[in-house]
């Protein structure tokens, strides 16, 4: 049996053995998708390099590991996790913890949360609000070539559910602190659903952390609905360790005149793959997809972006920047699809990278598919070193080489950070990035891990 078939068999077996346990903690609605999803996974398997969208990433080392625990809630110790304080937390936000993919079942409450917003467990929400969940669940997470998505649909038990009612807006962001913590190697799959109804506004931060040094593999699918005239501002800060792999698939479905921002800041992780999809599903929709990745040692950071211009008069903008040191590798694949009839589309894409060593490697690939004739699209990618002229300029003012390098890297990264609207948050991310560039792992203050592992 090939490795590929082995993996399929493995998950297939897990699904059979545990289906009653998985289904027990979940609603009938969510369970109704599992079997078909598993069938689809059996066909697709884990994406390998033959899959164009996974050409530059090797998932084998992460999927060929036998993890001790999979998708099992066991007794998640939310009390212990609630002691954890993310460094980003100093800013005012509504916090919610997701531990190993599970949310506390607390009726979606957070102290002080305004009326019209519910934040909590998806499993719980699918019982309480079956209509909303049914309307949106498994509607947007569609990619017929990526087996990781049906794998998640088949096996995920819980995740975060956020619902913002029509016209409701939040002044402070909702912060989801996404923790993995285990005594044994663990494979985590969770499923998030976020619904921002018409004319509503949701600022949101997701912070990914690993609280123990075990080997972690996370495969998370997030579906987001952004209604007419609604706004979403989603910032993700990834700060795990070299023994943790993170695969995220975020599908943002945008209706007419909506505006959505996705920003993935990858500070640390052994292997990170973020797939971000924006579907502009109504006229006048606008999206900004940003990303910043800093990698060193043997880390790999991979960003896949897909912008689907389905209607006319929409605007999309992608800006991804990365700094790679040591033997780190990275990949960027930015797809822009302009459907027939999506006239007057404006679509921009930029990917800039700095390689600090000869061994670091970056693969960057734009992918434009344009079926309309009245559109403006641009794309540009650079892979280079630090600007020598700028280095000399800084040094000529008395700034030493180490500091000058740091300033230039930070300046380079800042173009992405500058897009964070909340000032306190922007400053905080600036600090974390600076720490990271200085070679200090910018892990959270309460974390006592030896992250060098």
């Amino acid at each position: 049996m090939s490795k590929r078939e082995e993996t399929i068999q493995h998950f297939s077996g897990l699904f059979k053995e545990n289906s009653s346990r998985i289904e027990k903690g979940s609603s009938g609605l969510i369970n109704s998708f599992r079997k078909e999803a598993m069938d689809q996974f059996r066909e697709l398997g884990i994406p390998d390099r033959k899959n164009e969208a996974y050409k530059y990433i090797n998932l084998d080392p992460w999927f060929n590991t036998k993890y001790k625990s999979y998708f099992v809630p066991e007794e998640a110790d939310f009390m212990a996790a609630s002691d954890f304080r993310c460094e980003v937390v100093e800013l005012e936000s509504y916090n919610k913890i997701l531990l190993n993919g599970f949310s506390p079942k607390d009726n979606g409450t957070i102290e002080g949360l305004p009326e019209g917003i519910w934040v909590g467990s998806l499993a719980e929400a699918s019982e309480r609000f079956p209509d909303i969940v049914e309307k949106h669940y498994a509607r947007y997470a569609r990619n017929g070539k990526d087996g990781l998505i049906p794998l998640n649909t088949a096996l995920a038990s819980d995740g975060m559910f956020v619902h913002v009612k029509k016209g409701v807006s939040l002044s402070k962001p909702i912060q989801v602190i996404n923790l993995v913590h285990s005594d044994t190697d663990m494979f985590v799959q969770h499923r998030n659903l976020i619904v921002v109804e018409d004319n509503a506004e949701l600022p949101m931060i997701v912070c990914d952390h690993a609280l123990s040094p075990q080997k972690f593999l996370t495969n998370a699918v997030t579906e987001i609905y952004v209604g007419e005239n609604a706004r979403l501002d989603m910032l993700r800060v990834q700060n795990e360790h070299n023994n943790a792999a993170k695969l995220t698939h975020t599908f943002i479905h945008q209706e007419r005149n909506s505006n959505a921002v996705s920003n993935n800041i990858t500070l640390h992780g052994g292997m990170v793959r973020n797939s971000t999809y924006h579907r502009l599903n109504g006229e006048g929709a606008e999206c900004n997809a940003y990303g910043l990745y800093l990698a060193d040692r043997w880390q790999h950071v991979d960003n896949f972006v897909s912008i689907d211009h389905a209607y006319p008069n929409c605007l999309s903008n992608q800006l991804f920047k990365g700094v790679l040191d040591d033997y780190a590798t990275g990949a960027f694949n930015g797809r822009i699809l302009v459907n027939e009839g999506a006239q007057k589309t404006l679509a921009y894409q930029k990917n800039n990278n700095i390689l600090l060593t000869d061994d670091a490697r970056m693969d960057t690939k734009p992918q434009l598919e344009i079926y309309a004739d009245d559109v403006k699209c641009s794309h540009g990618a650079t892979v280079g070193q630090l600007d020598e002229e700028a280095m000399f300029y800084l040094k000529s003012r008395g700034i030493n080489k180490t500091e000058a390098r740091l300033m230039l890297m930070f300046g380079f990264a800042h173009e992405v950070i500058a897009n964070i609207k909340t000032e306190a948050l922007r400053q905080r991310i600036d600090e974390l990035v600076l720490q990271r560039l200085r070679g200090e792992l910018s892990r959270c203050a309460n974390c006592s891990l030896d992250c060098d592992k």
Partner: protein
């Protein structure tokens, strides 16, 4: 303060400086003039420590030390300042952060403590006044989106912040209108003391109406072909560089 002895520099196999000797004493202002391509900017960059080309001959002594052994940042901390002909834009690095880092590196080198934020901002305000820099500029990224004139003023502002012993101003006048030129020259003059020295590199005599040199040297084809006092600049303005070229070429025919 600065002695250059028979300096020869090659870039990509081509000799750009062909044996330059220059002696700058404390308190003096030297002007180096010459047509385009004569090697003026190369000389300035070599003094500031830019790594390019190869020094094939000669010696540069600054304050009794061999300058060739020093890194650019150490030259700066020892008091050498280069005003760039084309100041570099550095997106994402704020002027404030840039200047504070530079200033504190200088202070550390002298064994002084880092400056407090309030003292630093006060100093910035004071020095900005000198070259009439709009306060908005210093909250922006280094030179990013600055106009030509603003970039040049920003160079003099940095000079004012760092108070060098030896300032080398490379074509600081290029691209400036007459008002901006006055402001820049006025800034340089206010920073002048009996203790520091200035090398003004320029193509035109115009700047020297405002910054009056003690010595004028004409650089042509990698060599100083003529030296004199400020009247030499006026003579050049009057007769043009062709006069020097003819002079030099006729000498070489003899």
């Amino acid at each position: 303060m600065l002695q250059i002895e028979n300096l020869k520099v090659e870039i990509e196999g081509k000799e750009i400086l062909k044996g330059i000797s220059l002696n700058v004493k404390k308190g003096e202002i030297h002007a180096i003039m010459g047509p385009n391509g004569s090697g003026k900017s190369t000389l300035a960059a070599v003094l500031a420590g830019k790594e390019f080309g190869e020094i094939t001959n000669g010696k540069i002594t600054y304050m009794g030390k061999d300058l060739m052994d020093m890194e650019p940042e150490d030259r700066s901390k020892e008091g050498i300042f280069l005003g760039f002909q084309y100041p570099i834009e550095i997106p994402g690095v704020s002027m404030v952060n840039f200047m504070r880092t530079a200033l504190n590196e200088h202070r550390k080198y002298r064994g002084e403590e880092a400056m407090s934020s309030s003292d630093f901002l006060k100093l910035m305000r004071e020095k900005k006044e000198l070259v009439k820099i709009e306060s908005g500029l210093t909250s922006r990224s280094v030179n990013e989106g600055f106009s030509g004139g603003e970039k040049k003023r920003n160079e003099i502002f940095q000079m004012a912040m760092l108070e060098p012993r030896l300032a080398i101003l490379d074509e600081t006048d290029s691209g400036l209108d007459i008002d901006a030129l006055r402001i820049v020259a006025n800034g340089v003059n206010q920073l002048k003391t009996a203790e520091n020295s200035t090398i003004v590199i320029t193509h035109y005599q115009r700047l020297l109406d405002y910054i009056v040199p003690d010595f004028v040297h004409v650089l042509y084809d990698g060599k100083i072909v003529k030296s004199g006092d400020k009247s030499l600049a006026l003579e050049l303005e009057d007769k043009g560089y062709d006069w020097i070229k003819k002079d030099v070429e006729s000498v070489s025919y003899e």
